[in-house]
């Protein structure tokens, strides 16, 4: 049931006339659901702002949330979802902040009048739209956060460390997909240039499974490092990985491989006569 222009006007008037009671009851309900994790002053400010938003939208004659008079309200709801999502509130806790308006309106509405109730049903539909919109933008913002974190994780999980004078190492941990392999290769090549190291060790102790794709990424990285004049060693090949590589038929050719990082470092130091 959509909100007619007259109903919208009546509600706009109600939101304006009874604003103090409304904001009070509304804030009470939100505060209850958030259990003291936001201060009451803060919540009161938020609900007060939202009330203004709803009032402006309804007074402007919006029958649906998607219409132009509700632009400002939508922006406010997005803002609300964004701050809630970043503060770690759940989707329900976020949507409740909007749904609570329905309860608040019910407390100030004269329920004995049947026409009031009809209006209320229509208004309630409008609030539902607003809450769903909040929910949607909450999810979008959370997805954005997750994508950001995935990117940060990518950066975090691929350090290139200097082991010795002229020896750098890349300890690989986790799944080596194409995106990470690219990051690893870039980091390694940059570090080789910066430190002028002639030796690099790629340690795969933390890679749970070496399949043909992972092997191919490692081989490409080694070839690229060689083109820059650096010698690469692969270390951290555990027994089960060695057997799997043999069964798969992957050949590392003339690339030196060692069981542990310590072996690899010893090998390099011996080769350079230190």
């Amino acid at each position: 049931m959509a909100l007619g222009p007259e109903e919208a006007n009546r509600f706009a008037a109600l939101l304006e006339e009874r604003q103090e009671e409304l904001v009070g009851a509304w804030t009470d309900r939100v505060a209850q659901s958030l259990r003291g994790r936001l201060s009451r002053t803060e919540l009161e400010r938020q609900t007060g702002e939202l009330r203004k938003g709803f009032h402006a939208a309804l007074a402007g004659g919006a029958a649906e949330l998607g219409q132009e008079p509700a632009d400002e309200l939508r922006a406010q709801l997005t803002e609300l979802s964004s701050s809630r999502a970043r503060q770690g509130f759940s989707a329900t806790e976020t949507a409740v902040s909007v749904f609570a308006l329905k309860d608040a309106v019910l407390t100030v509405l004269d329920g004995s009048d049947a026409s009031n109730l009809r209006d209320y049903v229509a208004f309630s539909g409008f609030v539902d739209q607003a809450a769903l919109f909040t929910f949607d933008s909450y999810v979008q913002i959370r997805e954005g956060l997750i994508a950001d974190q995935a990117e940060q994780l990518l950066e975090l999980s691929t350090p290139v460390v200097k082991l010795w004078e002229g020896v750098v190492a890349v300890p690989l941990v986790g799944t080596l997909d194409s995106a990470r392999a690219q990051v690893v290769m870039e980091r390694l090549l940059e570090t080789l240039v910066e430190t002028g190291s002639p030796h690099a060790i790629i340690d795969i102790t933390g890679v749970p499974a070496v399949d043909t794709q992972v092997a191919q990424h490692i081989l490409k990285t080694v070839v690229a490092a060689r083109l820059m004049g650096a010698d690469c060693i692969i270390s951290g090949i555990r027994p089960q990985i060695a057997q799997t590589i043999v069964a798969l038929g992957i050949e590392f050719g003339d690339i030196a491989t060692k069981a542990s990082l310590a072996d690899a470092l010893r090998f390099v130091l011996k080769k350079t006569g230190r």
């Binding site: 799944t175 997909d177 194409s178 749970p208 499974a209 070496v210 399949d211 043909t212 794709q213 092997a215 191919q216 027994p239 089960q240 990985i241 057997q243 799997t244 069964a247 798969l248 038929g249 992957i250």
Partner: protein
């Protein structure tokens, strides 16, 4: 066959999920560490084939029991173009996708039973089984 779990494969992340599921099931039927790693690697290869060459599909992992031994059976199914020359596709080093060309042939060597059913235009189904020793 009992209590199979299904994963839809449509992205690289799904391949990772297949790998994790296979590892969990492999541990639960007490496969040795070497066999776990072999099976997980084979599953990784075949799931990626389903994704890259089959255009996505499903992977079903189930515990099996032949009365004497327990094991895992994994079925990779896609509705892709199918494989025109199976013998060629199973040759080491042959690839149409720029990989090492060892995925399909390597996976066959990593498992105990390897069945492939393919027809042009209707897709490919690969069934692999690994038994506990």
């Amino acid at each position: 066959m009992s209590d199979g779990e299904r994963i839809e494969v449509g992205t690289d992340q799904d391949v990772v999920r297949v790998r994790q599921l296979v590892r969990t099931v492999a541990v639960s039927v007490k496969l040795s560490l070497v066999d776990q790693t072999k099976l997980v690697t084979a599953a990784s290869e075949l799931a990626r084939n389903t994704l890259v060459y089959g255009g996505g599909g499903t992977v079903e992992v189930a515990r099996v029991d032949n009365g004497r031994r327990r094991g895992i059976q994994i079925v990779f199914a896609d509705q892709g173009p199918g494989i025109a020359d199976l013998e060629l596709a199973l040759t080491d080093g042959y690839t149409t996708g720029g990989g090492l060309g060892l995925g399909l042939s390597g996976a066959r060597r990593l498992v105990d039973e390897f069945l492939i059913d393919t027809s042009i235009g209707r897709g490919t189904t690969v069934t692999v089984t690994k038994w506990c020793r």
